[in-house]
């Protein structure tokens, strides 16, 4: 069976999940099974088929499982958001359409990935500007002490979502050129391998700028995500654990410094350590406390689709249930079993991403795929870890599941890039010439 036919078959579970999920919520809320749920399912299935066709005609050799996994996540997210607020679900579905357009555009414009390498500095600059935007007076928006959003007239978006892709592209391109020199030119001081400043300088500069911006806009979750992505790429490029160790030490130092000086960061850490303290359990600690309470209610099998207690007399019991805390809502309704299923899907996606990196023949593609997969997995870790109190809670989205246009669009671009790398890596030797001839 060809890769594309396998992909088509693999879409079945996603559509079944969607129809079953909507049916469950309809029964829960209206006590009658309405055919609207089937309409929703059919519309989403059509959307999935459209994406499948785009891949079939443009990237015939790409990994067959990446997109079906995304479809499962998206269905899951859509059902849960529908359960929280049907209006939001309609908007989310619209964002999927926009994401799909962006996905197609990315694939069509980037037939040749070397284009990205050529414009790496432009892309890096664009990434930094994006990160800086939320702090610009007039268009930046502050939420919970962090500057995450940008509002330009009617359009509001979260630039950090797009910034992560720009930074990864730059790092992959830069490390492809310099990785040999980083390894060969390094010296050993006190048993620690120190990379040469000359070649490490630019990378530190870009990374440092990104970190400063992040502290400046106070987005801790993204900061952790970017930094982790940076270290992962550095490790893949050089295969030197000592670089990662140095990086980690730097990060630990930086975190300690910011935790003890920036009050916003300090407070987040205190709340993380003891969210049930009476002083703040109803205020700043409310979010994380309600998150674990909701999870405790879920138990092993959950309270059932649509059965979660979200509102009390019109007031939301779980804050931001459709974005930051969507994982807590999922655990509440589907229990530990459902939550593990979701994490498994993310793990499978990361596995396909890293597999793509391993198959990629050429260094830039390899680094790009590894970097994107790593940053994707880290984003899942940062938000789920925040909601489950592994690390302090910060506001990043759960990719493809949380409500939010920026997140959907950025992650569709990420998927397009991974599929582009995969298509080139898995293309049989003879077919390459043939396809080129067709273009």
């Amino acid at each position: 069976m060809s890769a594309r036919n396998r992909e088509l078959l693999a879409l079945l579970p996603a559509s079944l999940l969607l129809v079953a999920g909507f049916a469950a919520i309809f029964i829960q809320e209206n006590d009658v099974l309405s055919d609207v749920s089937l309409t929703y399912g059919a519309a989403f299935l059509a959307l999935c088929l459209a994406v499948h066709l785009v891949i079939r005609f443009t990237l015939p050799y790409a990994d067959p499982y990446l997109f079906p996994l995304v479809a499962v996540l998206a269905c899951f997210g859509l059902v849960v958001i529908y359960r929280i607020d049907d209006e939001l679900a309609r908007e989310q579905a619209q964002w999927f359409v926009v994401g799909l357009i962006l996905f197609t555009a990315t694939i069509l414009f980037l037939r040749d990935l070397r284009l990205l390498e050529r414009y790496r500095y432009t892309i890096a600059l664009a990434g930094l500007v994006l990160l800086f935007l939320p702090r610009v007076p007039g268009i930046g928006q502050q939420v919970n002490g962090a500057y995450l959003g940008v509002k330009l007239g009617p359009i509001a978006f979260q630039p950090a979502e797009f910034g992560k892709i720009a930074i990864i592209i730059f790092l992959a391109a830069y490390l492809r050129d310099t990785r040999q020199m980083l390894v060969q030119g390094s010296r050993r001081v006190l048993g620690v391998t120190i990379p040469p400043i000359k070649h490490f300088g630019p990378i530190l500069l870009v990374w440092g700028a990104a970190m400063l911006m992040l502290v400046f806009i106070r987005d801790l979750g993204s900061s952790l995500m970017y930094f982790g992505g940076f270290l992962a790429l550095l490790y893949v490029a050089t295969n030197r654990l000592s670089f990662v160790t140095i990086g980690f030490a730097l990060f630990a130092l930086g975190s300690w410094f910011f935790a003890s000086t920036v009050s916003h960061v300090q407070e987040r850490v205190d709340i993380w350590l003891d969210p049930f303290k009476p002083e703040w359990v109803e205020k700043q600690g409310y979010q994380i406390a309600q998150s674990v309470f909701a999870q405790a209610d879920g138990g092993l099998f959950g309270t059932g689709f649509g059965a979660s207690l979200l509102e009390v007399n019109g007031n939301s019991l779980i804050p931001a249930p459709q974005t930051d805390l969507i994982y807590a809502v999922i655990t509440n309704e589907l229990g530990l079993v459902g939550a593990c299923g979701l994490i498994l899907v993310y793990l499978l996606f990361a596995e396909r991403g890293f597999k793509t990196a391993m198959l990629a023949g050429e260094s830039f593609s390899k680094l790009l795929a590894a970097g994107l997969s790593a940053v994707f997995a880290l984003q899942v870790f940062v938000i789920v870890g925040g909601v489950t109190r592994v690390i302090p809670l910060t506001g990043v989205t759960l990719p493809f599941v949380s409500y939010g246009g920026s997140s959907i669009m950025a992650n569709f671009i990420l998927l397009a890039l991974l599929l582009l790398v995969s298509d080139r890596a898995r293309r049989p030797a003879g077919a390459a010439a043939g396809r080129r001839g067709l273009r």
């Binding site: 490790y235 406390a289 059932g304 391993m358």
Partner: protein, 459 residues
């Protein structure tokens, strides 16, 4: 560059495993602690939103219902007031739960406890509990309270063949709709009384079932016989010569049964008591913290069944340090009436889900065979004699053979204050009655109450 990629994936696996670990921590391992966290209002809010299942008597009388308070909150109501307060208990958001409301909380609140139920709930409606159909009879319960007439005491009536609890009355009762003021101490299951002569039927059961005695066996009934080194007197210092066991039970002769107990020995007595259910909580569908075991107590603690502190001769006639619950004595009567087979006492006969399907049938459940049918029949004949011509004539019913045993446990001999007992059974129903700290005897005070309960049950 592929090896670092593999290691990187390994790191992702570890990180995700941590996420699963923490999710398990909140959803499973620390879930109960989180539910009890004072900042957590979810449990309270959710319990109020659930339309708890109904609790009904055996004849369908509503014992507990749910009433809508506002858009999506419910409150409990108890139409029968204090009549069924002890067995049914109460449900209160701030005072917790007691009785059946506690024991059957999962089905009553619609909380499925098995995997199949959880799957069904993924698609089915939630927030509606399952109904309980109890075995309780309002007539018998009413007769029990009328009979006790405000005096402290308890009445337990069991179905002889199934162990179904037909009445579980204890005074004082309380108003279940005002849990803040409720005194939930249940004399039927938690009250510990010296059993007096009613315990002689346990000794008789052991005597007959071991084959060492027959109803016609002759034993010396002299007053002031030395038992465990101390002289023992009969009720009213009556002196009997050598008499058979039937006569000794009919006239409740202490010295005979004390000798029988001593001859059988501590080990045999302990074995039969444990088979009858002494020394452990009665296996009733009722919360553990509202049940107490019967047996010899010393300084408030239950002794071992063969403890060296036990004076087996005096225990055999219900004296010594023996304390029993009315529920335990009802179970003894039920066992003998059922040919020696003890049944687990049951308050609920079936659990019915909102669609009308029966999801659970707790009744009946065999507990243990205590004695052979032949020995039980012999003992029944002896106990019938007690009602026909002995101390228990006040329980005699027209047209039905009642087998019984009286008990008068001295509490304050100088003032003539006793705990008054009567246990009895017909082929259908076994009853245990205790009236606390009264003048009189079990035969005059407790037996008429048992008769009223039997009559209320149509006998």
């Amino acid at each position: 560059m592929n090896r670092p990629v593999v290691r990187l994936f390994g790191l992702v696996v570890v990180l995700f495993a941590v996420l699963v670990g923490f999710t398990s921590r909140w959803t499973v391992f620390e879930a109960n602690a989180l539910r009890e966290n004072p900042a957590n209002h979810r449990v309270l809010l959710q319990e109020e939103r659930i339309k708890r299942g109904l609790i009904r008597a055996a004849d369908g009388t509503l014992l507990a219902g749910s009433r809508k308070v506002d858009k999506d909150r419910y409150a409990r109501r108890y139409p029968t007031g204090d009549l069924f307060a002890h067995p049914v208990g109460f449900f209160s958001v701030d005072r917790g739960r007691t009785g059946l409301e506690e024991y059957y909380n999962d089905p009553l609140s619609g909380r499925a406890t098995d995997a199949v139920g959880a799957l069904e709930r993924l698609l089915g409606p939630e927030g509606i509990g399952e109904d309980l159909k109890t075995t309780l009879s309002p007539e018998a319960q009413r007769a029990a309270y009328d009979g006790l007439a405000g005096r402290n005491g308890a009445v337990v009536a069991l179905d002889v063949k199934t162990g179904a609890v037909r009445a579980l009355a204890a005074t004082p009762s309380f108003d279940p709709s005002d849990p803040a003021k409720a005194n939930t101490f249940n004399r039927a299951t938690q009250g510990r009384f010296p059993p007096g002569s009613t315990f002689k039927v346990v000794t008789a059961a052991a005597a007959l079932d071991t084959g060492r005695y027959q109803p016609s066996s002759q034993v010396d009934g002299g007053n002031g016989k030395v038992i465990s080194g101390t002289p023992l007197n009969n009720f009213g210092d009556e002196d009997f010569g050598s008499i058979d066991l039937t006569f000794a039970l009919t006239n409740s002769v202490n010295t005979v049964w004390a000798e029988v107990g001593e001859k059988l020995g501590k080990k045999t007595m302990a074995g039969y008591m444990e088979k009858f259910g002494f020394y452990s909580d009665p296996p009733m569908d009722y919360p553990d913290n509202q049940l107490l075991p019967s047996g010899e107590y010393r300084n408030g603690k239950l002794l071992g069944p063969e403890s060296r502190f036990i004076d087996v001769g005096r225990m055999a006639i219900g004296q010594d340090k023996l304390l029993v619950t009315p529920l335990q004595m009802a179970s003894v009567a039920q066992t003998i009436g059922n040919g020696g087979m003890r049944m687990e006492p049951r308050l609920v006969q079936k659990v019915v889900d909102p669609d009308g399907r029966t999801t659970d049938r707790p009744l009946p459940e065999d507990a243990q065979r205590v004695m052979s049918r032949a020995s039980a029949d012999e003992l029944t004949a002896m106990m019938k004699n007690v009602v026909r011509e002995g101390t228990g004539t006040a329980a005699a019913l027209e047209g039905v053979d009642v087998a019984g045993k009286t008990g008068t446990a001295e509490i304050d001999p100088a003032a003539g204050i006793n705990d008054l007992w009567f246990i009895c059974f017909t082929p259908e129903t076994a009853v245990a009655v205790v009236v606390e700290r009264q003048k009189g005897t079990g035969g005059t005070t407790a037996a008429p109450i048992a008769k009223q309960v039997l009559q209320a049950l149509g006998e």
